[in-house]
Every structure is written in structure tokens, then in C-alpha cells.
């Protein structure tokens, strides 16, 4: 309901052409009752617009910026070390079994006891080495799985996610690469998404370029193509993107890629 406290809002809507028929009728009635306000409406200058002073800038942006320091995950290292130690112990046992086939049951039981004690000790050391914060957040276990995935990928570096006559998406060295067809060279289509950034290569010789702003454009291009043609491969692609976001990051130089520790 228009009154002396809010009539300016109706004036503004009227001047900017955003007033409804009902509000316009109400405004006309109000102005008939308060003719002195018509002058106020007529004198309003909608072209009186302020422009920002671009010379005023905030020069301490680096002080506002934040960087997360990725600490080494000792839990993962300990786990890998324990697997390595266990492997050596089992190799020795197998070797002993072959060289001394007449070994009796009591010495076997004794060996098993020793192995179990070693395993317990290694597990205790591994638990001690997990930082307190990571223990609380359960990060130790999660990272262990990722490292195992990394190992698998190192063994089989060229893992084709999708392959057809017109589209190839494959993974090399933990990165997603993409090109239109088998016969074409990888040029501008060589696109990688890492940690919310798009990294691309114009030619195979050039260094990787990074474009954070272009992220949606390129990722959506790839996703749309895959969604339209390859329903089956979509999950693999999404999983790979998720894997990259979790495990690969831009290093401190802001240019190169590296594995998150």
C-alpha cells in the first residue's frame, strides 16, 4: 500500500517502466491526493549514475590469499613399508620351506608366532605415525586406498576410458586426455582437468597452459559428448575426474602439475 514512507519505490518502478497496472493506478490516485510530489517525480534524473574510480585498488592481495600446505602422509608411508617388510618375511619363509622340506610342525607354529608379532609391531608403528588430526578425520585410511590406485596406474599408464571411431578419452600418467578421433593429432583437444583448473596443450611440443576461467566450457563440452554417445563410459569418466581432483594439484609455482602427497 502506497504511503508517504514508500512512495519513492513506486516512483522508481514507474520511471524504470517496471510498475504493474494495479500499482500504477494506486500511484496516480496517490499523486492526485498529493500533487506537490509530482514535481519530485518529474525532477528525478535516472541518468545520474556514479562510475567507480578505477585508480583505487587494493595492493595487498597476497595477504588475503590462502594456501593449504599438504603435509606428507606418514600413515601411507608406514603402510607401504609394512607391506614391503611382510613381503620379505614371506619370501624368506617360502625359501626356507623349499630348502628344508623336513621342517616340523612346531617350528612352523613358532615362525607364524614370530610373523604375527612382527605384523603387530608394524601396525603399532604405523598407527603412531598417523598425525592426530588425520586420525580424527579418518584420512589415513582414505589416502592408503588412493596410493594403491596410483600404483595400479603406474603399472598400466595408458588406460583408455572410452574408445570409438570418433572419440577417445584416455588416461596417461594420472591425467585425462581427450581427442576427437584416432587419426587426428592431439592439438587443442588435449584437455586435462585438475583441481578445478583446465590444463591444455596447443601442440604436443608446447608446455601445458592453465585456464581456471575456462573450466566449465571445456569440461561441459567433453561431458556432453560422452553423455550423448557413451552412457556406459560416463561413470568411468566422472570417477577419473574425481580421482584427479583428489590426487593431482598445481604445485607452488602455479604452473606445473604434481601428485598430492
Amino acid at each position: 500500500m502506497i504511503n508517504k514512507d514508500n512512495y519513492e519505490a513506486y516512483f522508481l518502478d514507474f520511471i524504470e517502466g517496471n510498475i504493474s497496472k494495479k500499482d500504477r493506478e494506486e500511484l496516480e490516485r496517490f499523486l492526485k491526493e498529493n500533487p506537490c510530489l509530482t514535481k519530485e517525480l518529474d525532477s528525478y534524473d535516472k541518468d545520474l549514475v556514479l562510475t567507480p574510480d578505477e585508480t583505487i585498488t587494493y595492493n595487498d592481495k597476497t595477504k588475503l590469499k590462502k594456501y593449504i600446505i599438504h603435509r606428507p602422509n606418514w600413515a601411507v608411508y608406514s603402510s607401504v613399508a609394512s607391506i614391503f617388510v611382510l613381503f620379505i618375511i614371506f619370501s624368506l619363509i617360502i625359501h626356507n620351506d623349499k630348502s628344508t622340506p623336513t621342517i616340523n610342525n612346531s617350528s612352523l607354529a613358532q615362525d607364524r608366532g614370530v610373523i604375527e608379532r612382527v605384523i603387530k609391531e608394524i601396525q603399532t608403528i604405523a598407527k603412531k605415525n598417523i598425525p592426530e588430526k588425520e586420525k580424527a578425520e579418518g584420512m589415513g585410511t582414505e589416502k592408503k586406498v588412493n596410493i594403491l590406485d596410483t600404483c595400479k596406474r603406474d603399472i598400466n599408464p595408458k588406460n583408455i576410458i572410452i574408445n570409438s571411431n570418433s572419440l577417445i578419452v584416455y588416461e596417461v600418467d594420472n591425467l585425462i586426455e581427450y581427442k576427437e578421433s584416432e587419426s587426428k593429432d592431439i592439438k587443442a583437444e588435449r584437455i586435462i582437468e585438475v583441481d578445478n583448473l583446465i590444463v591444455y596443450k596447443d601442440t604436443p611440443e608446447n608446455n601445458y597452459n592453465i585456464h581456471p576461467i575456462l573450466r566449465n566450457k571445456y569440461v561441459n563440452q567433453i561431458k556432453n559428448k560422452i553423455e550423448n554417445k557413451f552412457e556406459k563410459g560416463l561413470n568411468d569418466f566422472n570417477n577419473s575426474i574425481a580421482y584427479l581432483q583428489e590426487n593431482v594439484r598445481i604445485d607452488d609455482s602455479g604452473i606445473n602439475l604434481c601428485i598430492k602427497k
Binding site: 519505490a9 567507480p52 590469499k65 581456471p212
Partner: protein, 159 residues
């Protein structure tokens, strides 16, 4: 919002927020304190706030921090009283307009700056300043009317 997106926010919006604050408090030290605090809050809540909402969020925080500062130290009154002294020499229209802006009440200044400098819609301004849509329109209308009156009065003095 990720760490990278947060740092992009700093690059994209820090100048805008700083200009907005300086237009109100005209004291770079206070403005820088508010900047630090506002961006720190954005960083702390980055998991909940999407990149697309980050600009509005940081303006909202900066505005409310500024109001708190006004209440605590009443710098607003001091600064405004100093700047309200009408000068009789102006180099250009922009300077007159800036001088006119200083005479506006804080809330009118905020609405007109968010509208003209940042291009926010009335609904977005209502959200940032936590006032009704109707109030936003009223303040914008009153602000432009006051600016016009100030310019006309200066013209008369110069003539």
C-alpha cells in the same frame, strides 16, 4: 569453493570491496582491517559457499563489519563531518559527484554504490544489506534526488 577459486575471488573482487569500503569510511587502515576480516570469513566458510555466490557473500560480510566498526568507534560521524565542508573549487563533474556522495547517509550510499559500481539488482542489494526490496528502491530514489540537488546547488554557487 576450492582453495584456487578462493584465491581467484581475491583477485577479482578485492578492489571492488575496497572501493566500496573506502567510499564509506575514507580511512585506508580501517578499510584494510575490514578487508582482512571479511576475506578470512569467506575462507573459513568456503566449503559452504559456491564460487558464484562468493562476491555477494564478501560484500555482505564487509558491509556488516563496517556497520559494526561505525558503532564501535563512530568514525563515520567524524569523517563525514570533515568531508561535508563544501568546497568552492571543483576540477570536473566527477569530483562534484564524489563530493555529493559524501553527503549521503550511509545506507543510501551503500545502496547507490552497490547499484552503480557493482551493477547489483535491487533484490541482490536487499539481500546484501539485509533490508526490504521496497526500502532499497526508496533509498536509491532518495540518493539520486540528493545527488541532483547537491549538483544544482554547487552550480548555483559557481555561477
Amino acid at each position: 569453493m576450492t582453495e584456487k577459486e578462493y584465491n581467484i575471488c581475491v583477485d577479482l573482487f578485492a578492489d571492488n570491496v575496497y572501493r566500496f569500503l573506502l567510499k564509506h569510511i575514507r580511512c585506508s587502515d580501517y578499510a584494510k582491517d575490514i578487508m582482512q576480516d571479511s576475506f578470512l570469513k569467506l575462507w573459513e566458510r568456503r566449503e559452504e559457499i559456491g564460487f558464484e555466490k562468493s562476491k555477494s557473500y564478501v560484500f555482505t560480510i564487509a558491509y556488516h563489519n563496517m556497520i559494526d566498526q561505525f558503532r564501535k568507534i563512530e568514525i563515520s560521524k567524524k569523517e563525514v563531518s570533515q568531508d561535508r565542508e563544501i568546497k568552492n573549487t571543483y576540477s570536473d563533474a566527477k569530483e562534484i559527484l564524489n563530493s555529493a556522495l559524501e553527503t549521503l547517509p550511509s545506507i543510501q550510499k551503500s545502496t547507490i554504490l552497490l547499484r552503480d559500481y557493482e551493477g547489483y539488482s535491487y533484490a541482490e542489494i536487499s539481500e546484501i544489506l539485509d533490508i526490504s526490496l521496497e526500502k532499497v528502491k526508496v533509498y536509491i530514489f532518495r540518493a539520486r534526488k540528493s545527488l541532483k540537488e547537491y549538483i544544482v546547488s554547487i552550480d548555483n554557487i559557481i555561477d
